[in-house]
Each structure stands twice: as C-alpha cells, then as structure tokens.
Subunit: 355 residues, 2 copies
C-alpha cells in the first residue's frame, strides 16, 4: 500500500502522517483521533509539568494503545536579564496605554524548563514508542536512558548540517523542517533566519545526507503535499497547521478565524513573540516591532511583555498581540474531525501516488 | 507518457522542463541543448539590446526550429537619485581602499530598459512561441500585439495575489516562483521578502487560484523535485541553478566552484547586488551590508558601486563582491551536458512517478 515503509515499520503505525506536537493547541482528543486513524499522535509536553504530562498521557492511554510521540523542548536556558526585559517591556508602553493596561514591574522573564531528570524518569516509567525533541537534543545520558527502555528518539533539523549532527548523535529518525512550517523553527546550530531552507530544497538534501528515515514538515497541508514529500524521498510527513482547525484542536476562536482567512503570504518568521524565531500570522505588533527584533529577550522571555496584551479582552480578541502560529499552507487546512482528516489524507495521497 | 499534458500541448514541447532564462549565464548553446532534448529553451533578453537579441535568436534558430521562450524584465524605471547613489558608493569606501580601487565619481546609476516598443516590434517580427516576463507585465497594448502574432505570454508570480492578477490580465501560463529560487524574485505587488512563500506551500495554492497551467520554480534541481512539483499540481517545472554547472552555461569558474561547494543554507535573499531582492550565495559584502539594506539604490542601480570590486582581479576572483545567484538546491545540480541533463530529468521523473 505505502511504497516507503521505513518509518511505518520502525514506529508501528499504519499511515505516514505525524501530528505536529503543537504545545497549547494539541490536547488528548486530537492525539487520540490521529492515533486511532493510524497516524502517529503526538503529545506536546514542552510546557507541561511532569504531573500534567503524566495526566495527559494517562487520558490518551485510556482511549488507545497505539504508539505515541511525546515531545519536549531542549533549548539552552539563559540567565535572567532584567535590563533587557525592562527595555523590551518599555517598547510596549504605547500599547499598554492604548488599552489602559497597568504593566507589572519588570520581573525575571518566564523560564521554561527544558527536558531533564524529572521528565526523563517519567518517560522511563511510561515508555512511549517515540520521544522527540525540538531545538536540538538533551544530554547523551538522558538519551541513553530513553533508548534503554525502548523509546525511539526523533530530532528536528532545519539544515543539512543539523541533520548530520542529529544522525551522528544516534537519533532514529529526523524531521526536516522546511521554512514554510508554522511555529518555532527547530534551528539549533544557527540563529540566522535569512538562510533557512524551503521544503522543496531541504527534504532531498537531508535525505541524501543521512541514512535514517526522514519526516518532512513545512508547507504540507493536503494530500498533494504528502505525495510531493514522498517524491522528495521522505518516509513520513508531519502536519501541524492542517490540524489546527479540527474540532478536537484547542485553537481559540480568534485564532481559528485568522487561519480560515489565511493567505499564502500572511505569515513571517518572528522572534518577538517568544524570543526564538517562529512562523506566525503577521499582526500589528509583528508589523510594528518585527518581524525580527534584536532587542527581544531570550526564549521564552519575550512573551512576558506581550502577555498582558494578549490577556486583555479587547487587545487579545483583536489577535494583534497574539502569536497565531501558522505555516504557509493554512489555506489548505480543512475544518473537519481529525480522524476523518487523517484517513482522507492517507486515501487521497495513495490515489495521487497511484496516478 | 506525461500525465499532465496541459503545458506540453499548449507550447508544443515533449518534456515539461523549462530552462530558466538566467540573464548573463544562458547563451545559445544552453538554449539549443534544452530545446533539442525536448524541453523549453529560454532566451534571456532582459539585458540585451534589440540587435543583440536578434543575433542571439538567429544563432539559435540556425540550430533548432523548436519552440522558444524569450524573456524580458518589465520593472518600473525610477528617476536617477544621485544622492542615494553617492551614499551607497560611500559605503564601499573601505573595500575600495582595501583593493586600491579609485572609484569613479558618482554618476546616475545604470539604467536597464524594460520591455517596450523596440523589443515588441522585434518579437512581432521573430514570433517566438513564448514571450515571458519577470517583475510583472508590460502594458496591455504590447501584450495585445504579441498575442496577435501568435505568441503565448507567461508571467511570474511569487504569491497567490500576483497569480490571480496575472490570470486576470490574460496570461497563458503562470510561473509559481517559490522562495527557494535563485536569482531575482519576480515579486511585483509587494517588496517584503519576509512573507515570500516556499514552493511546497505556494504551488498548490496557485494551482487552486488559477485555471491556466502552472509552472513550478524554486528548489527543483533533480527528478525528485520535478516529480514533487507534479504531485503539487504543476504542469511544468522551470529549473535554473540545475543548469548553471552544465558546460554550455556561461558561468565563470569562480561561480561554478561556489555552486559546487553550495550548501543548502549557503544563500539568502539580498537587495544589495542590484537593488531588487534576489537569492545569491552569501559572501562577504552580503554578510557585511545585507542581506537586505534599505539604503541600496533602486534596481538596477545598486550594482554600480559593486562593479569596480567584482571587476577587480583580486576582489572579483574571491567571489566576495559578486552576485552568484543560486537557489537552495545547488547541491543537487550536476556538471553534465544540458541535453543529457534534460533527458535524464525527464526519464528519472517518469520512473519516479511510475513508482
């Protein structure tokens, strides 16, 4: 049925469709739906505590015993920089005044704990089929422990150089994240967005550079993209934006509306939302302060100054201060249940490949 | 043999491979080779005088009677701006000093005549099968005259909005130029490079938006890319960088060497070489003054200040001051004769599509 079975057989799934682990927007219902359809359901744990991650995975496992992909961030943490944070907050003064917001005094910007001991112990206990990482890989000792309990490890590359490094570090599969992809760039060997590579060029070059299966991501939102990625040599495809309009996604109404209206050229790579480059729908604050701004605090600190704006009823509802992550193919996404979407992606891709 | 025959039948060619009309690097030998192999040979006339264009086409027609695509720029000309030109030249002072170059006094920056009366009259006389335009379209009266003598007209879009406009203006086919493409972006309804769209996302959205055949360009340099573009709904593919290492290309040695060494992330969109955004291999001057610089004179004026550097034996040979245009898939290009390359692209694509 599928010509390339490398990733399917490795992970033990039916269709080569991976749900992108979109932190904050993928909950158990979406994960379960994709897994039930035979794709690989993902559990974004980057912003969860170990207890919350345990609860999330437990809910999923009550509904399905199919393979799961549990995803973490492994960014470098940077020391607090109150001066930088205060300067960034000062840039928002006009917006705060416009919406009558009294900003909290600058405090050490929010930290986000990367994958470490507690999550590693939890994974050793829960043993998901796949543990995947964004922004590089955690220390080798953690990866060894995951491998010892039978987890497969997947890393994300935005360049051939990153893909080669991931393979040398022993990952079992590599996501090739083309520049079209929504959300945070997985880049970890460069912070230069001007040289990021589109899927059409990146996928075959990563396929040529490594021997492990390659999962294509970026700009793929219907069967045409899935089939195209196969032609480029990918063994599976990771889709994110395509699932954000499914009823199971936790996407708020304003975000759904922005996606539904999404034009091909509505997004840009911006670092002003969190401090790391991510593709989002261009809004007022991105136009006025970005898309890239060297003054933005380090990840995830830049988010703190925007938080009171996106939480404000009026400013928040406008979408002009929120990070509405989106890939460049949002227009191709369909507002249908995720199981139906996954099955139709598989069916339509097979028909397209058969000619 | 080919499933999608729309472009093939429209133009009267055998294989859906279009040679990108790379001004300065495509001469008759390369055009003839691609046409002879059954692709669409292109004749870049953007930088030629009508007499030179006539001579070029005459040489080609002595060797082949296959359809030809004659390409022009139709940029808006801007009035001379000596102050801006002088300021830009002043930015090069350190480089001039380093190489002992005595810069000429600032003079009105070089002008490049867009398609107009003289070229239109020449096309009416020579009647190539296809006349294609970059940077928009010329006035309707010129297009009517071309259509009256039987020429097909092709325009280039970098967004869905540009594609819709081109179709409304009556073009016969549309190039969807993904952000991976080397050389000048065809963009004409926006000058914002941060929202330019990758091929994987752009091609299906353009296909959905128009009824004329779509020619995919950007990041395609081997049979995998050609097959992928078919899956996305394109009827033909335009390849440029893939042909730059062919012996028939007029690519200088230093440029060939840079392409041969080309990594996936070696290029960026820059306006410092000519004043318009174009994808080039990142070199010293792009790193130090770009990649985008708001002070660069309007197209093609920015080139004047760099000319003495690229013409200098030492600075020029280093490649650090030259616009070495390249797409993001240069690594996939092969240094083989163009007829062999075209035929093998066709053969390998058909094999790939057959599974």
């Amino acid at each position: 049925m599928w010509r390339d079975r490398r990733f399917l057989d490795l992970v033990g799934i039916e269709h080569p469709i991976v749900l992108a682990p979109m932190a904050g927007y993928v909950g158990p219902a979406l994960t379960i739906a994709v897994s039930t359809a035979g794709g690989l359901g993902s559990v974004p744990c980057a912003t969860l505590s170990p207890d919350a991650a345990r609860a999330e995975i437990s809910v999923i496992r009550q509904q399905t015993d199919r393979p799961l992909n549990v995803n973490f961030f492994c960014h470098m943490q940077t020391p607090p920089d109150l001066v930088r944070d205060a300067a960034w907050q000062a840039r928002m003064a006009g917006y705060y005044a416009e919406y009558g917001i009294e900003p909290a005094p600058a405090s050490p910007s929010g930290q986000l704990t990367p994958f470490g001991e507690a999550m590693c112990a939890l994974m050793e206990e829960l043993r998901p089929r796949v543990v995947s990482f964004h922004f590089g890989l955690p220390e080798a000792r953690f990866r060894q422990r995951l491998k010892q309990v039978g987890c497969l490890i997947i890393g994300c590359a935005t360049t051939v150089r990153e893909a080669r490094w991931l393979q040398a570090e022993g990952v079992d599969a590599i996501i090739a994240q083309g520049a079209e992809a929504g959300g945070h760039r997985g880049m970890f060997m460069s912070d230069d967005v001007t040289t990021q590579v589109g899927s059409m060029a990146l996928i075959p070059q990563v396929v040529d550079a490594v021997t492990v299966p390659v999962i294509a991501a970026g700009g793929i939102a219907d069967a045409r993209g899935v089939a195209a990625a196969f032609m480029l040599g990918a063994s599976a495809m990771q889709l994110g934006t395509a699932y954000l309009r499914c009823p199971e996604a936790k996407t708020p109404a304003a975000y759904r509306a922005a996606l539904a209206a999404g034009a091909d050229d509505a997004t840009a790579l911006t670092n002003i939302m969190t401090g790391r480059p991510a593709r989002a729908i261009v809004n007022r604050v991105i136009r006025e302060l970005g898309p890239m701004n060297a003054a933005a605090p380090a990840f995830p600190g830049a988010a703190a100054a925007l938080a009171p704006l996106s939480a404000n009823p009026k400013a928040g509802a406008s979408g002009e201060f929120s990070g509405f992550w989106s890939g460049q193919a949002a227009r191709l996404a369909r507002a249908i249940p995720a199981e139906e979407l996954t099955l139709s992606l598989a069916r339509e891709t097979l028909a397209r490949l058969a000619g």
